[in-house]
Amino acid sequence: MLDKGRISSVQLMLVLFMVEMATAFLLVPSIVAQAAGPDSWLSVLGVATAYGLAVALICVALGKRFPFQVFTEYLPEVLGRVPGKLLAAAYTVVFIHLTSVVVGENSIFIHTVFLRETPPLIINLMMVGAAVYGVYLGVEVLARANEMVFPIFILSITILLALVAREIDLDHLRPVLANGPLPVLKGAMVPAAWRGEVFFLLLLYPYLNQKNEALKSAAGTVLMSGVFAATVTAVTIGVFSDLVASRQIYPVLNLARYISVAGILERLELYLIIIWMAGVIIKLAVFYHSCSVMAASTLGLKDYRVTVFPIALATIVISGRLYETDYLKLVEFLSKFWPFYGYTVELLIPGLILLVAVIRKKGGNRVDF
């Protein structure tokens, strides 16, 4: 194992929740609303959760077979040396790309909404710098810091939603299933890919100190984030209606603009940056940690920390080349390519690996849940 840290099952659950929800709560509502209309919350709560549970089951099954290795470490064992290493390298590249997407999401949001005159590069350097600091400290510290960040995240969103609750018009959410189940399924495409990020369990499993509770925390994460994301989506659409919500870039940001309490608390969109940064730093740190562990294990290095810095620089450059500050390019990727990309990486390939491992009898041979 490259990182000596130990995390508890509760910590794992909270970390995975952060990975799934940190960016999703802001970006998903408008994308879902375009396809699923008033039933968006059903897509998020039902279909996406089911997909997330499937990913969680496969990941836990794989984790149980190889309890002390991360995904890329046992690929060569399952597939044979050359194909295994190749797939591991491919995964590393894919994850570097995914991390660049998160970096892009972050700099576009902060740059276009809050720090208009700060160059995106500076924003990236700060956020990535904080995340890389977290990676250097190790997964155990990340999990512990997340225990402080998680309540901030949840409390802030809850307060935000509670303060706009009086603006909700239930007619915006009715009628339920007016156009049949098809829009609900279509709407679930994008959020499902996000929920599949529970896949990071494969890279955190070795650090878990109570391995028999892995399924509980993974499933708990998927369910918790299902309820959470559905609430955010429902409130957004309840306030704006699906038509308006789907035409906004950040509908949740506009929710915050609706808040007015006793004439003192007004224009609280800055409040959102607390929620956003809290989540994104943790999410980025987990992504960078996974990338660097993958890279180090693929290359056969002893210390994963040496790979963090080049990977961080690479992601900043890649996100700059891919998106600059162009939200449309980003949202095009997120709504058109990311689902299929995500399904392949999160569900299909790990599923196949599990199948091969079962057939070739690799790893621990018990698959019980």
């Binding site: 956020m127 190790g138 810091a145």
Partner: protein
């Protein structure tokens, strides 16, 4: 006289020799002094005097006794460190009486030593030593050494007694309710103050000597069978690693035994209050008491502890703990949040307030960041000057500070009135943190946060908070995570973090200290009206049975 030093054999030994040579003072275990005395009294005394270079505080009293004055003896002690009354009563007088007694038979030289040791010296604590470095150590700590002609054994009479401060009220930790004694500069007094509170033989004091020149006594205090032995061993092994010329205060040790040397946050607690030490020991912590300083160290320490005052536990109802957290947040972030709001996010401030702020800032030539930084810096100047000045001058500093920083700078148009309010509020809030040394960290991190606020506004501040959280989460104090019990979360133990639960609810000791006995008290001691739910409880008989049980 001295044996020739052995030739160093290994590389490490040679290196150690070189370091020793550069540190000048011989190591207490060095070969040079680790040799026995000779048989001749004159040689021994000459050697001893020579070691001290005829220092004026080394007193050597030579005399002889016996019916014919046939046994020569010399008493050596350091003036001011030994109790002269005890010396004359317990050492000198018996010799005179023996010489004047009716027993005129001569004392044989070989029987003189056991006779003096066994029944001539009328003092409780007598020890024997033969080696030069042992005797040196004893004499330097205030014992009297008795050299007897014809033997290489030296009798040590522990007649330590020097001028020490009385046990007084704690100077650095103010409070309203609670015991008023505090440690002083004498190790024995301090250990006695602890022993007086915890009357069990399982209270242990393991003593070490640290410092080549100061040879300071360091006492590691713990309760045997309650404190995690691994923790105690870790403390002792970290202390034993220290090799320096002197330990003058607990702070010297602190720097050597911290887990993370590069953090402004203090990873150990220190106190001059024996009740606080006793409380910590009962939780399963380890205390380090140091001779020559009234400040004892407590390990391990976690962040939330610095917002706990001993008085919290003496007052039964207390909402102040929550206020301290608020104070901590205000002390750290209020000035930077103000800078961020007034520079970048005016739209978030209510209209009426923003107008009055604008009116106040009219004519102020500097941006808010410069204004805030200059106020903060001058406030730190004031605080430092006030703490270091003699009390008579300190008042003048206070008056000048109030006038210059408050009124005059506003009148002169250098700062806006609201900035004065903000900075003073933050300053007052920073005084709410009960632990002085840990408030240094808060004082320090205000400045990076001000710069972040000036550069990036609120997002910058929040970025800083997250990095700070990462840093705090990475800290450990003797293996215990610094943010415990919040992260890693042990919700059952939050009853002493954000508020203080009543004593009868705190049945268990903190679990991360791995105390051997986790239960502190019998469960279900919630007090209530006697006799249960019905009104019959007013029956005086039931009250009295309750009392009998307690007794």
């Amino acid at each position: 006289m001295f044996r020739k030093p052995r030739r160093p054999k290994t590389m490490e030994e040679r290196k150690q020799r070189q370091i020793d040579a550069k540190l000048e003072a011989p190591h207490p275990d060095s070969q040079e002094l680790n040799i026995p005395f000779g048989l001749s009294l004159d040689d021994n005394l000459a050697l001893f005097k020579n070691l001290f270079g005829n220092a004026s505080d080394l007193l050597v009293r030579e005399f002889s006794f016996g019916a014919r004055q046939e046994i020569r003896v010399a008493l050596v002690y350091i003036d001011g460190l030994s109790d002269t009354n005890s010396i004359s009563e317990a050492i000198l007088k018996p010799f005179v009486y023996r010489s004047l007694s009716d027993d005129k038979s001569p004392i044989l030289p070989e029987s003189a030593y056991p006779m003096i040791r066994d029944w001539l010296i009328t003092f409780g604590s007598v020890k024997e030593a033969a080696r030069i470095n042992e005797v040196l150590d004893y004499v330097l700590t205030g014992c009297a050494a008795l050299f007897i002609d014809g033997t290489s054994q030296v009798l040590i009479v522990v007649v330590k007694g020097w001028k020490a401060r009385d046990v007084e009220e704690p100077k650095a930790e103010a409070f309203v309710r609670g015991p008023r004694d505090s440690f002083n500069e004498t190790l024995r007094t301090n250990t006695a103050l602890i022993r007086r509170r915890i009357k069990t033989p399982r209270l242990r004091f393991d003593t070490l000597k640290i410092g080549r020149m100061t040879k300071t006594d360091i006492c590691v205090v713990y309760i045997h069978g309650l404190t995690d032995p691994a923790l105690k061993d870790e403390v002792i092994s970290r202390l034993k690693r220290i090799d320096t010329d002197g330990i003058l205060e607990s702070g010297y040790l602190e720097d050597f035994i911290k887990d993370n040397p590069w953090t402004p946050f203090s990873l150990l607690d220190r106190t001059e209050r024996p009740d606080k030490v006793a409380g910590a020991l009962l939780e399963g912590r380890v205390a380090i008491v140091i001779d020559t300083t009234p400040f004892a160290l407590l390990v391990p320490a976690v962040f939330s502890e610095f917002l706990q005052a001993p008085e919290d536990y003496y007052e039964s109802f207390d909402y102040i703990r929550a206020f301290r957290w608020l104070g901590l947040i205000i002390a750290t972030f209020l000035p930077s949040v103000y800078v961020a709001l007034s520079t970048y996010h005016q739209e978030m401030i209510p209209t009426g307030l923003v107008l009055s702020m604008a009116a106040g800032r009219e004519g102020v030539p500097f941006p808010a960041l410069v204004e805030a930084l200059s106020m903060e810096i001058s406030f730190d100047f004031l605080r430092e000057a006030g703490a270091r000045m003699p009390r008579s001058v300190g008042q003048a500093v206070g008056i000048i500070g109030a006038l210059v920083l408050g009124q005059a700078s506003v009148a002169a148009g250098i700062v806006s009135p609201i900035m004065v309010v903000i900075v003073s509020l933050a300053a007052v809030a920073s005084f709410m943190i009960p632990n002085y040394s840990s408030s240094h960290a808060i004082r320090f991190i205000r400045f990076p946060f001000l710069l972040l606020a000036g550069a990036f506004g609120l997002p910058g501040i929040f970025w800083g908070i997250l990095v700070l959280l990462l840093h705090l989460a990475s800290l450990r104090s003797f293996g215990v995570p610094y943010l415990y019990p919040v992260a890693p979360g042990v919700p059952g133990e939050w009853k002493d973090v954000f508020f203080k639960a009543p004593r009868w609810m705190m049945d268990f000791r903190p679990s991360l200290l791995r105390a051997r006995k986790i239960r502190r008290q019998a469960p279900g001691q919630m007090p209530g009206p006697p006799g249960g739910s019905s009104g019959e409880g007013d029956d005086p008989q039931i009250v009295s049975t309750g009392r009998e049980k307690q007794g």
